[in-house]
Symmetry: D2
């Protein structure tokens, strides 16, 4: 109980616990807090892997049980993005394929908080209620990289929990269409704060390009997260991540598509939550029909019997659901988005082999 | 294309393909089409397994690609329930634990349909649109019990798909509170048409008792289903199912709870879909707090990082989401609902051993 | 009941303050708490006005600032309905037209309350939140019939407010389709707890008949109400009401339709609130197209520019919106539902003239 | 553009039919298509009325029944805004009061259209459906300024309709917070495309200032509109409008507030529609409590019995509802936002008197 404001609370360090090569390590003034609206800070060459550091969603300012977001973080400086990257050759009307070669915790600690007016089970600025906010609390997690675990102790209960480490990026996106600039808290057609565990090592994210160079950025590392992110934050931590990018000329994805070795997916972001479901599934059907040239109703039928529909977040300004079609039901010779996932996966394997 | 009304379409048989003991096989006039509103037809003795037959959601009337629900099924005769069962000793204020010992396809075929004004991606009677309905179509699935597969051919595409057989009951419920009688299409606090794959062999469903004997009924067998049941129907088929029941005196569950060997769950049913998420997660937190006596915010925190939130349906009059807390994060000595799941699982093992 | 009353809080009387003819005054055991599920208690002869008494939504149990619903009302005994009435000649597939000749407060007081887990701006059983409930409070209103006002004093503020008396019935409905029985708290296709001020003297409500005699009932008098009923209750009071009914053979309304001298309306009840909007407007377009035989898109266009869309409630198990098309844009010779509103209005005038 | 026109369809002129003084008439390249993201084009001196021209939402490109938006309008060039205006003295943390002195149709015609993927009763990019779009159609309205009417003929029905002219601005807003730039199609905390008829002559709109000079802009004139804008467009027309502005130092409105002689209002914009209702009413309660210093629950009670809740739009990326508290229930000496509405109304009367 006393932990909330205890001067004896340990304050954790911003140093990287696990040193290793990382080409791009932003300074504070390098971070971008929006999608769109920032000048390109770095350039990406298609086919060339790049390793980069991302700060946690609180900008590293919450590093003790005594640190409360409403006290130490100054709105709107939430969710710093590493980027934007100017992707060479990317033009409006193209898509980029962003393959995640590796995503690794940069520190041996992470945090999660209850934040006033944020979360799926409390009144928020949109689901406005007359209730007072719940208490604001910070839980500090310790990472055990050997065992692949993150652990936390209850603040008010005799309870210690260890969860499998399952790192992913809550946020990846490009400059939005129509000249918009969006907060890095928002997920939408341009990607952004989708908070889906499908953005993990081994996956490829496809994003439609709206401005020259696409202006890709990413951040919001999560060491673990339950589906929906009920309390409003995941196990939030800094990451060292390697990506490799390809440009798919003349093929524009309206909504973010994701491909893994086992599945093709679309991330729909909207409110109410059924509209996120609708976008994700209707766009996945559209993608399958355009690729397989099968009848739309046959695709609907098969998807209805075997798709997974993973709730990503029920807390952001738009909610996100990922519709996921397993590849084992598809013709074996089919390839998506010009085969970018396969190219980039092969590249990734070569890069990692070279490294080792 | 011509399949839709082809006189040459094979019409499948209503016989049980896989014969075997089944104590309760309703006649047509035995079925109940509502939760509440039917007199008890059979009695269940707590602790004594009972095997029963359930008809598919179309009452077995759709058994060919040429059979369309709007032609062969007469509203409201959809989703026949086997029951109600009077559970001996169950009184208002108690809960019953319904353990599913086994759920097996009763036939070697099943069907799925697009139905006008039903489905997640079309206008419906509640999400009223000015569009014309999509074409009504019926897909017939064949069951291969040896390999554990169901297979279907595209109606308009050269596509044959095999999916893992994953049988469960779309519907299980009791008479509702407050004297209501609800269509067997509806999921709500009394259970009903939740359409969650978590109602499978090995799981225990807890339901609060509102009337003497609880008046349990079940049906709507699914041989397989994607999350959300996008087109409005799963792979719909008749089942032979064995259940065993326990009465938990003086402990009333407001919302359906589910327990498996690996997890505890709550099924929330509401619209919009985020409200189903809210009910499921808030009630799961309530259940965990009442059982573990941990602080509510600590429980929220851990649930936020490791719960699964499985979309059951986005098509019924209420949508359903199941919040699922893995048991591995809980103290090892904790037991839920008086340990009913453990008792009934042990009973089930004994029953099945005896049988074999 | 009076034991809960603060000795200094005045407890109001259940007597009718304004005596006058009222043919049907139910005893406590006469009330029905559901739509469907009650046997017919009285008979209605089409064309013959009948005057009846309706109790308030709390069954008259809240009659002092010291009376709190959670203490004095026993769930589910909320929202007592006067009825059901067996309407002679009404058969499934017909509709009944219920014309409200007069609706007058029966008492010189009324109440409104904040109720835990009810209301548009608080967590509820469906919009489940982790917040504690707001305080439960009761405000007593005084009626000034001469000036046509209801008045209330702030409980915690130096504020006295007088509002125009605007009596209507929150609830009017018939037995639901498909054998359902629904709590009198619920609005849906059968009418029920729509909470729309359009159900006022001078209006005609059309309801599709699902069972022989329709089984009409009504209640939940409101002396005044803001749009949406934000706190969960209106100015709740007993009524003396005169209705006159007509049977429209072979013309079934799926959703409740309302007609006044100035407008035709449909009440859509659903969640989320945009679905209530969709039902109301799509069904109003359907009604106009079926009556006027104009093109659907022309009707959509005109409705888009002149319809009113009145929020009725945002608190009941379904939310209700009433779409309202002014008659002045319609051909002058058009008549709806066989002219029932005109016949019944004329009858009402004659009845009231005779009375005076 | 005219090539798309059917030779028999009259193409209307972009000239102003009603000439008169108008200080600010933008050229095409002057228009701004976003809130935020445009440099200030003009300056506004507080207290000095300014008259300005606004183009219609289609940029004047739809001016015949043969002109279809999808053909003649190039996305994202929809909803041109006149502005931004740099309001002298406005700093972040202040609010501006924008009083509408007069709003008059600039032309004797206007248009309305059905647009693919837009509207409350069709599938859209967020409420994604598998249906094909409805036909795209354009209706041309004629204005009769003498009689105060707009008239339209059915395209496919023998139906001519005249509606009262009721001009207002669908759009008024400032640069958003947090460095965002939003499409002029979007309503949110910064105002924008609220589509509420309450933004009419005689009203004052209060908007929180996020950047120096506020960067006010406005447009999207509607000659008339039904509640909700069901088909996706109102009677869209160019306007000549006079506004006068005041800066309220150190008093920041989070959401748009509106004041008229009869009422105080808040416009909430969110999805689902009940969240727009929640924002509007919770923020109106907050405003009343902060101004009147009455208890929050007393304010909730009175608002629940007399507020109007006007649906503005159910078609934009956020839906909008306006909560409206009548002034007659408030203490007579109360004044809101420093009395800005009263000052500006007085100024407006003087300005108009001088003019006449």
């Amino acid at each position: 109980m006393s932990q909330e404001a205890d001067s004896e609370c340990e304050v954790y360090s911003l140093d990287r616990s696990w040193k290793g090569p990382c080409e791009i390590v932003p300074q504070w003034e390098d971070y971008c807090w929006t999608f769109g609206g920032c000048k390109a800070r770095w350039e990406i060459e298609p086919g060339v892997p790049v390793s980069l550091f991302t700060e946690d969603c609180f900008g590293g300012r919450v590093r003790s049980a005594a640190h409360l977001p409403s006290k130490v973080v100054q709105y709107p400086y939430l969710n710093p993005q590493t980027g934007p990257f100017f992707v060479k050759g990317a033009e409006p009307g193209d898509s980029i394929a962003v393959h995640f070669v590796s995503i690794a915790p940069a520190r041996d600690w992470a945090v999660s908080c209850t934040v006033p007016l944020y979360g799926a089970l409390v009144g928020t600025s949109a689901t406005a209620m007359l209730h007072d906010a719940l208490p604001e609390l910070t839980w500090v997690y310790r990472v055990n990289r050997q065992d692949g675990l993150v652990s936390v102790r209850g603040l008010r209960s005799p309870w210690t929990v260890s969860l499998p480490l399952a790192p992913f990026h809550g946020t990846v996106g490009v400059a939005p269409p129509a000249g918009e600039v969006r907060s890095s808290i928002v997920p939408d057609m341009f990607g952004g704060n989708m908070d889906t565990p499908e953005v993990c090592a081994g996956s490829t994210v496809y994003l439609g390009v709206n401005v020259p160079g696409a202006l890709l950025s990413l951040g919001d590392g999560h060491y673990a997260m339950g589906e929906g992110e009920a309390c409003g934050s995941a196990v939030e931590g800094a990451m060292v991540t390697t990506i490799v990018v390809e440009v798919i000329k003349g093929h524009y994805c309206e909504w973010p598509r994701i491909e893994s070795d086992e599945a093709v997916m679309v991330a729909g972001s909207a409110r109410p939550l059924e509209d996120a479901y609708r976008v994700a599934h209707a766009e996945l059907i559209k993608w399958l029909v355009e690729t397989l040239r099968f009848d739309r109703l046959d695709v609907l039928q098969v998807l209805s019997q075997c798709a997974k529909s993973r709730i990503a977040n029920v807390v952001d300004p738009n909610y996100t659901i990922v519709a996921k079609m397993p590849k084992y039901v598809l013709p074996s010779d089919v390839s998506f988005m010009g085969g970018a996932h396969d190219h980039l996966s092969a590249l990734a394997v070569r890069a990692m082999t070279r490294e080792a």
